[in-house]
Point group: C2
Chain length 241, copies 2
């Protein structure tokens, strides 16, 4: 009798990739979690121009990109924010990715999650689902300071808060950023409650790059949290445009 | 200080509507849960033709439709499968909608869920998210017997199984159908496990109608599980085409 394949929820895929993260940010080498985007060659420069704006606005995880030719298309690998969770895990912090969602930004300040999907309860990536709904307004956020961006929420036990803060600063020093909020113990983060004795950490979604490209009507094919990439093979966007 | 609005997960919206169901299937009156679709007038006949095919193929919940003019557009209300959960609830069965997903059909037989999103863990309707991903193949299912359709999974305590079967038969007698599988106690339903001492019930998604219209490139605006409609005001599709 044919056995049905089990459903694979996004959290399993994330944990599988987090486990394989080997990012050494002092040496800038090792594997990070990446998103994969494919664009036609003729749209590459326009795509990179949008990516540059999103990175400059602080709405991406890192300015590093790996570019690869694939026939008439170019494959772009960009950093996924779950890299940061992977680094925390490799430093012994039991961090748990909770969900991906849309965050309302007012006056350049993230205010609250307006929509969210929990990673353990969906087989399709929340960020990819929300991007396809056309609910983002990243252009608005960049132009006026008001808009809707993609982000996610993580949780960790509150005694780890100082160590998390330290790690986030070290990552930030090598341009791995995108922390929207590190909550206080037991306090809501962007309107979402965290488990008792935990802190919440809200990160920008690396897919903001791609959602902004889609808002600009650039045809892209995209998969979030797709795989791992050796960080030393990636180039700063300044070298690419 | 401004309080953030809380996130409203789909399950809350569903339970709110289930609570308001007053469908009396013996008299064919009372409120049922409906989906709302808007199409341009010029596309109405083509849309109804697709709806007719989907209903004939047994991939919709009911042949009843309420049509209403809205300027240049027509609003179509069609039955949502959660009506069936609402009826079970009103007959004292503690039924719990679990999630919506994609079901692979082989040789006209539903075989397994290939993707699923849990209702309690998403603020956007799972079926609407999956429809936007273009992952359905309802046309394929209707043409060749192989394809991917929308469906959902419910759970109820197993001692209620006989009563559920009886209700499903009564509903089926008045053309409210779309039961894909009523599981045995503790047994997987289309590859998804159920809670201990429960039975799973897989139902076709009422949104198959609309996903099929989108597959046929008819532009539609759609919201699943949108509201309630008085069933006596709805007409059989045979009267409309």
């Amino acid at each position: 009798m044919k056995r049905a394949l089990p459903l694979v929820f996004t959290l399993s895929r994330i944990e599988n990739l987090m486990h394989q993260v080997s990012f050494d940010f002092a040496e800038m080498r090792g594997r990070i979690i990446t998103n994969t985007t494919r664009v036609d060659k003729k749209n590459l420069q326009e795509t990179l121009a949008v990516f540059f704006d999103v990175i400059s606005a602080g709405l991406a995880v890192s300015p590093l990109i790996m570019m690869e030719e694939e026939g008439r298309r170019i494959k772009l690998k960009t950093a996924c924010s779950l890299t940061i969770s992977g680094v925390m895990l490799k430093h012994g912090i039991p961090v748990r990715p909770k969900g991906g969602g849309l965050i309302e930004v007012v006056g350049r300040k993230p205010t609250r999650f307006t929509d969210m999907l929990m990673y353990w309860a969906t087989t399709v990536d929340p960020i990819d689902l929300l991007t396809a709904q056309g609910m983002t307004d990243i252009a608005g956020m960049m132009r006026t300071g008001n808009g809707r961006i993609l982000g996610n929420l993580q949780e960790a036990p509150f005694p780890a808060r100082d160590r998390i803060e330290e790690l986030l600063e070290q990552l930030s020093a090598v341009d791995f950023a995108g922390i929207l909020e590190l909550g206080d113990p037991n306090m809501d983060v962007l309107g979402v409650s965290v488990e008792r004795d935990h802190v919440g950490i809200a990160l920008v979604g690396g897919t903001n790059l791609v959602a902004a490209a889609q808002e600009a009507d650039i045809p892209v094919e995209h998969e979030s949290i797709s795989d791992l990439t050796e960080v030393s093979l990636m180039k700063h966007i300044d070298e690419l445009i």
